[in-house]
């Protein structure tokens, strides 16, 4: 049997691991730690005290409970709006915009509050896909640190400006007194046609002024290379759905590169298996660290980041018949493989590269020309507008501000003081000019501005976006502005004396005129998108003149003995949403670490640098690295800057490469103010790695570095080691060739075992392998199917589940104690060699077993089974024995150790433990403002109860109710659970399996029956969630075969 492992300890069954595995609930880390091992009578809290507390608390509870019932008010509307029925949700099409990122979404609004984001299926670009960040952005609307009114600087602090008129006067005076110095409008990439038009009108009023676009993570290299090769400073549309062979040179296109939701949707299209005609695209990945996309690749090869250019060149040469000659034989093999595959699939091949070096991108363009991608998988007739920032522009702006060549800088939606490698110099410059910030919170950059006039959150604004030329996505408000904020556009219009009074009017006029009629405008708002009937397809005119120059420059790139790669996580991204507790607590798909960034390094470097042998850990002090939250820290120096960060050891890293995530370490100018200004979730979470960025014409996200042992430790909250598989087989995979040869081979082993368990002589595993009776599900039986082939681990489903089901945020301290509350987690398994393992992601949630082991151990029947196959959890009945969690083979039941939600009847049982057992961020989530995000259909759980996935029972009930109201059982097929709806690759299906035309019934019995397996089926727990075995398109040996 092939071995799948989550941690090194599990792989090698180290002593430390075995000790830790015995203690599932981590009792030594519980609040009752003063009990030690002595038993309750000998504890520091003796019996009499115990009885006193018992008596007191009983009496207190009796008194508290028997007090008079509070008088509750019911306050109806004064004048009820026509389109609101309290208790019924409305849905509005809108657009999630963050920097240049654009995602067409549908906003669920309940009683006037936006509470959930879903993808908009009418968008032909994203087709209903979402990302973790888009899912989480509804929480940003209720961020307690959002600025609530316009302000001006007064000494070191800011004071309120009482009205917008007064503010306009102040700004008018300030801009009038610039003495002819130009002003600069500094924004992230803007792709809103109306906003760009307003900006042009604004700039016309201030001659000599300019608009600078700045992206925290730059794509300048790609833009400049495209300008050199295709004459357009633009990014084309990529069509992963047309690509039979995909080669990525470090482009994390499923996680963070350019437009991951769009690419995931396209990518998954060719990663689904059609049993009649099994075909898969081939994905070959070259990279230096283990990224999300790399871990989904069929074949993955490692190189130093300084060799990226050389690999690209070698690939180009290999396509022309020259073999690669790296010292690393594997890499040579990889280049050869990629070249052969690309050649074979010419016209249906695509090469993408994540480097920000224009020269490398020039070579990649040459490769794409050679393999015939231009016009096929790369569409130059339809350019993408996600990124437009050029790094040199910001460098020049910084110089200009410091030289006094610029009079005023208007900052909207960017935070260069934090995210630029020389943020300090930018801050110095900014304090010398008239700085006006439109940013939503008192971030690092706004602090250095003289004026702050926060703009609306996108859920409060009108607006539009043009993610691709000719493809528009409209934004309409789903709530009135919560605070005294004003559209950025309205401010510009006021300050340039525009005749139109506000942006809303401007927007409506613009779109009514453009579309031609009010009806078409209303339809566009309702659909959320305006798109041409057919997609333009075409190629760009290629010009290879820069290729030779690029080759020379690439040859000159120097590496180091150790090199650092800076990357983005799927959760925090570039750091603009760093104060979002949902994203901070989302475990990184690869490392499973929450709340921090760290240095990723391979086991080999850990052994040589830290003398830490992960394959041989004992409970000794030095080497219980993996089971203890305290991790050794290392000092890393690159580009003259130093950071000290803890180490996470991950297989599949290049042996001389370390990787650090950007987006962490948000900090105010006065560090003590970070919690107040930037937020309690961002405060103290990691360190700012942007300072390690290099610059040589474009930003460079990898550089030679030195690493140095410190002897210090730092605790990391990692969820990876919180559950173990006890060596049980939990997933199956195979290669495409052996699947085609014998589709049944992949599940031969579990299927044979299942047959062997039928002891009654029949042939029905469900009925004949148990002493329990079989219960019929007379009407509906819910079932879920998860395709391991298309699950990329992107974690959008985890955030969607958190938002839909009011899952608590517990904070870093509690995650360290394995008390995270996520109902749905993505288990990450390694298999194969330490140096370059394969990775499998397996979403794990309550399996709703029909013969559930949790149900028959509950002493109060708080968890039991429904006639629709749901494993029901009744919070108000649960007394918290945790027998069920102990007995669950999937470890999906979560216990509320503390009052994370403030739902208990005693108001003050949180504050006293804040800082010791509970993080301050829990209080942030309990703020009246933040609680507006709660889903009113789902109970907010109190302390001391177990909770777990309910299959979104509130949605099931709603769907059934609609079907009953319409008297139409086929409406049940419309059911969508939150994780399924969020998934950008449609890896999750859910339906009524009693319905023989439903998705899951078809998958299990017709379409995919050779790949269907149930996790731990041999236990006869009869799960209602099935998985589909993973099939990789590779020549390597995969899974059980051979």
């Amino acid at each position: 049997m092939k071995k799948y492992w989550q941690s090194f300890g599990e792989l090698n069954q180290t002593e430390a691991f075995q000790q830790s595995a015995k203690d599932e609930f981590k009792e030594e880390l519980l609040p009752l730690s003063d009990l030690d091992d002595k038993g309750i009578l000998d504890a520091k809290t003796p019996r009499r005290d115990f009885l006193k507390y018992l008596g007191f608390s009983t009496a207190a509870a009796a008194i508290a409970a028997s007090c008079e019932m509070p008088v509750r008010k019911a306050i109806p509307y004064l004048q009820k709006p026509d389109n609101i029925i309290p208790g019924v949700s409305n849905y509005y099409a809108s657009t999630y915009v963050n920097g240049g990122d654009v995602l067409s979404v549908v906003v669920k609004q309940r009683d006037g509050r936006p509470i959930k984001i879903e993808g908009n299926e009418l968008s032909s670009i994203t087709r209903g896909a979402t990302t973790a960040q888009a899912q989480a952005s509804v929480l940003d609307l209720y961020d307690t640190t959002r600025l609530r009114y316009p302000m001006q600087k007064d000494g070191k602090d800011f004071k309120e400006v009482t009205s917008f008129d007064a503010f306009d006067k102040l700004v008018g005076a300030a801009l009038g007194g610039l003495n002819g110095k130009p002003l600069v409008l500094l924004t992230a990439t803007l792709n809103s046609p109306t906003t760009l038009q307003i900006i042009n009108e604004f700039l016309a009023k201030y001659p000599g002024s300019r608009h600078v676009q700045y992206d925290a993570i730059s794509y300048s290299g790609l833009l400049l290379a495209n300008e050199a090769c295709y004459g357009k400073r633009a990014i084309p549309s990529y069509h992963f759905d047309n690509a039979k062979v995909i080669v990525s040179l470090g482009a994390d296109f499923l996680g963070t590169w350019l437009s991951p939701a769009e690419f995931s949707k396209q990518y998954a299209q060719n990663r689904k298996i059609n049993t009649d005609k099994p075909e898969l695209s081939r994905h070959i990945h070259f990279e230096s660290m283990l990224s999300l996309t790399g871990s989904n690749a069929d074949d993955r090869f490692l190189h130093k980041p300084s060799e990226t250019g050389a690999v690209a060149l070698a690939l180009l040469n290999a396509l022309n018949g020259t073999e690669a000659s790296f010292a690393d034989k594997n890499l040579n093999e990889g280049v050869k493989l990629a070249a052969t595959q690309l050649k074979a699939a010419a016209g249906n091949a695509l090469v993408v590269c994540g480097s920000n070096d224009a020269n490398i991108q020039v070579v990649v363009n040459a490769i794409n020309e050679t393999v015939g991608a231009n016009g096929k998988t790369i569409n130059w007739a339809l350019t993408s507008n996600y990124r437009a920032g050029i790094d040199a522009d910001l460098v020049k702006l910084t110089e200009d501000m410091n030289n006094g060549a610029v009079g005023a800088v208007l900052v909207y939606g960017v935070n260069p003081v934090y995210s630029h490698y020389d943020g300090k110099k930018f801050a110095d410059g900014l304090s010398k000019v008239v700085g006006i910030s439109f940013n939503a919170s008192m971030d690092e950059t706004t602090e250095y501005c003289k004026y702050s006039i926060p703009s609306h959150h996108w859920l409060e604004s009108w607006g539009d976006a043009e993610p691709k030329t000719g493809y528009f996505s409209l934004i309409q408000p789903a709530i009135n502005p919560l605070f005294k904020t004003r559209d950025f556009q309205t401010s510009l219009m006021k300050w340039s004396g525009n005749a139109v009074s506000d942006y809303e009017t401007y927007f409506k006029t613009y779109w009514n005129t453009k579309l031609g009629s009010v009806d078409l405008y209303n339809k566009a708002l309702q659909d959320g998108v305006v798109e041409p009937a057919t997609m333009p397809v075409g190629n760009g005119s290629y010009n290879s003149s820069k290729l030779e120059e690029a080759k020379v420059k690439i040859a000159a790139i120097k590496g180091g003995a150790v090199e650092v790669v800076l990357y983005q996580k799927v959760s925090i991204g570039n750091g603009s949403q760093a104060n979002n507790p949902w994203l901070q607590e989302l475990p990184d798909p690869i490392t499973k670490v929450t709340w921090d960034n760290y240095i990723m390094m391979g086991p080999a470097m850990a052994l040589s640098l830290l003398n830490l042998d992960v394959m041989n850990q004992s409970m000794g002090k030095q080497s219980n690295y993996e089971v203890h939250p305290e991790k050794p820290t290392v000092k890393i120096t690159a580009n003259g800057k130093t950071l000290e960060l803890p180490v996470i050891i991950i297989p599949g890293m290049h042996p001389s490469v370390v990787a650090v995530a950007v987006g962490y370490g948000r900090q105010s100018a006065i560090p003590e103010r970070t919690a107040e200004y930037i937020g309690r979730a961002a405060n103290g979470a990691g360190k700012n790695a942007y300072i390690l960025v290099g610059f040589d014409g474009t930003n460079s996200y990898s550089s030679p570095a030195t690493v140095e042992k410190t002897g210090n430790t730092y605790p990391l909250a990692q969820t990876q080691i919180h559950g173990f598989t006890e060596n049980r087989p939990i997933l199956y995979e195979t290669s495409l060739s052996s699947f085609i040869a014998d589709p049944k081979s992949v599940l031969k082993e579990p299927n044979e075992e299942r047959e062997s368990l039928i002891y009654k002589g029949g042939d029905n595993f469900v009925k004949d392998a148990t002493i329990y009776p079989d219960f019929v599900k007379p009407g509906i039986k819910w079932g879920m199917s998860i395709d391991l082939n298309t699950c990329t681990g992107c974690s959008a489903c985890v955030v969607a589940c958190t938002a839909e089901n009011n899952v608590s945020v517990v904070g870093k301290i509690q995650v360290q104690r394995a008390h995270e509350m996520h109902w749905l987690r993505i288990d990450r398994y390694f298999t194969g060699s330490l140096a370059n393992p394969d990775v499998v992601f397996q979403p794990m949630l309550c399996q709703h077993c029909d013969n559930a082991p949790c149900e028959n151990v509950c002493p109060v029947a708080a968890t039991n089974h429904s006639s629709e196959g749901l494993n029901q959890m009744t919070y108000n009945r649960c007394i918290g024995t945790r027998y069920c969690a102990n007995n669950c083979p999937y470890k999906v039941r979560r216990f509320n150790w503390l009052d994370y939600t403030g739902a208990d009847s005693f108001p003050d049982n949180q504050e006293p433990i804040v800082g010791t057992y509970m993080d301050e961020v829990v209080m942030q989530m309990n703020d009246d403002l933040t609680r507006m995000v709660l889903n009113p259909d789902v109970t907010v759980r109190s302390r001391g109860v177990i909770e777990k996935c309910s299959f979104c029972v509130q949605r099931l009930q709603e769907t059934k109710l609609n079907a009953k109201k319409e008297q139409d059982p086929s409406l049940v097929r419309n059911v969508k659970v939150a994780c399924m709806q969020a998934c950008p690759t449609n890896a999750i299906s859910f339906s009524n399996v009693n319905d023989k035309e439903s998705d899951v019934y078809m998958i299990r019995n017709v379409e995919q029956k050779d790949r269907v397996f149930y996790v731990l089926e041999q236990l006869h727990v009869l799960p209602n969630v099935n998985y589909l075995a993973k099939v990789r398109n590779t020549d390597r040996h995969i899974g059980v075969e051979g």
Partner: protein, 423 residues
């Protein structure tokens, strides 16, 4: 006592369902009545002016006999041209009639019914009679009997003692009964039993608020509105068929009628529970204050601060009577639209309540009992009647065919499972 209440409850619902059967048996004129109740009742009465004019004899007052048929379906256009239309809108203080889409026969049925309408003879409702409560008499009887038994036991023991002495058997001095260990033990046991019973019952009842009847900011009588004036419950509580909340109507819904109805003129006598009289007209004035309506000018206050509502208007802070705990999910539309339950099933004889009180216990046992007994509108494969959604329950269909099952209760389709209400 509770069994009487249950009886009362059943009787009321029985009377209700009977009255519906009674109604549906009459054919033509009664169609008119049903149509009237569904469409017109919120603004019209047959005999008197409400928001709109009385409907009796409407066709005789109008310019011609056919006018009404035109008017009902073309209100918006006729108000611009027709002088009589303008006149009746002026008479209704500018309240504009809603435009309907009714067939001519339907309008005719309504008007025929109104023309033939005679006020019903008021009869006292036998179910409304106070029911005698016998538990007191039983209690006293039990006490008296217990006392007699006690005296007889004492007498018996004294007599036995006397006879024993007579026969020369020596008996110890009698212990007075209050020091007798048997009595003490029995007393302690009885006290323990009673104490336990009341403690447990009290604890179970914590947070339950049956009969809760707070004083509301406006004395609003359901008896006047839903009882005497027969306004459909759904006119104000429309959410009951669409949403989980039945919803308390917003002030603008009240004003739909009360723009014209500014005086209370009976026939019901308005009084609070303690017997103090209530001035109905003064309560309507309170509504005007909340709505920002100027009754003398007959229009809303101006909106000087441009917030979209008349100056001085503010929402009414009603005191909430029916509270379910946060961990209970209850959906009105499930019960009203799908389950076809009458409001009175849970809310009691609301049309007879001057001030609303919580009629039902709203306890889990109460919910479950109803779910055990109530039958769903199960799909009948033979004649395609019933809710087609239930056609998916193949097993029950087979059982019905085989005669194993005669009807399907809510419990059968999972209506007593935890996660139907707790999630």
């Amino acid at each position: 006592m509770s069994c009487y209440r249950k009886f009362f409850c059943h009787l009321t619902s029985l009377l209700f369902s009977l009255s519906f059967i009674f109604i549906s048996q009459h054919s033509y004129a009664q169609d008119g009545e049903a149509l009237f109740k569904a469409n017109c009742q919120a603004c019209h009465k047959p005999l008197e002016k409400l928001t709109g004019p009385a409907l009796k004899g409407a066709r005789d007052r109008e310019p011609n006999k056919e006018w009404a048929y035109e008017w009902v379906n073309h209100v918006n256009t006729m108000l611009e041209s027709d002088p009589y239309a303008k006149k009746i809108m002026a008479e209704a203080n500018g309240s504009r009639m809603q435009q309907f889409n009714l067939k001519k026969e339907e309008i005719k049925a309504i008007l025929d019914w109104a023309d033939a309408y005679t006020p019903p003879v008021t009869t006292t409702n036998p179910a409304g009679q106070p029911q005698g409560d016998n538990s007191m008499i039983f209690g006293i009887l039990t006490l008296v009997l217990a006392l007699i038994a006690f005296i007889l036991v004492q007498v018996n023991s004294n007599l036995r003692k006397l006879s024993d002495e007579k026969e020369g058997i020596l008996q110890p001095e009698p212990v007075p009964f209050y020091r007798n260990k048997t009595y003490l033990m029995a007393g302690v046991l009885i006290l323990f039993g009673l104490g336990g019973y009341y403690t447990i019952n009290g604890a179970i009842g914590l947070g339950r608020m049956q009969h809760y009847q707070p004083e509301q900011p406006i004395y609003y009588s359901h008896k006047v509105h839903a009882g005497t004036n027969q306004i459909s419950c759904l006119y104000c509580h429309g959410g009951a068929q669409d949403s989980k909340h039945a919803n308390i109507p917003s002030v603008n819904v009240c004003m739909n009628c009360h723009k014209s109805i500014n005086k209370y003129a009976g026939p019901d006598v308005l009084e609070r529970e303690d017997g103090t009289a209530v001035d109905g007209t003064a309560e309507i004035q309170k509504l005007y204050a909340y709505a920002g309506w100027n009754p003398t000018a007959g229009k809303y206050n101006p909106d000087t601060n441009n917030d979209g509502i008349p100056d001085g208007a503010k929402p009414i802070q009603w005191i909430r009577i029916h509270n379910l705990p946060d961990h209970v999910y209850f959906n009105h539309s499930q019960h009203v639209k799908v389950g076809k339950q009458q409001c009175q099933t849970c809310h009691g004889p609301i049309q007879e309540m001057p001030e609303v009180y919580q009629f039902a216990e709203l306890s889990m046992g109460w919910c479950i009992n109803c779910h055990r007994e109530s039958r769903v509108d199960f799909y009948n494969q033979a004649d395609s009647s019933g809710n087609k959604f239930y056609s998916i329950y193949e097993k029950f269909h087979a059982d019905i065919k085989n005669g194993k099952l005669d009807s399907v209760t809510v419990e059968k389709i999972g209506g007593t499972e935890c996660q139907k209400c707790h999630y």
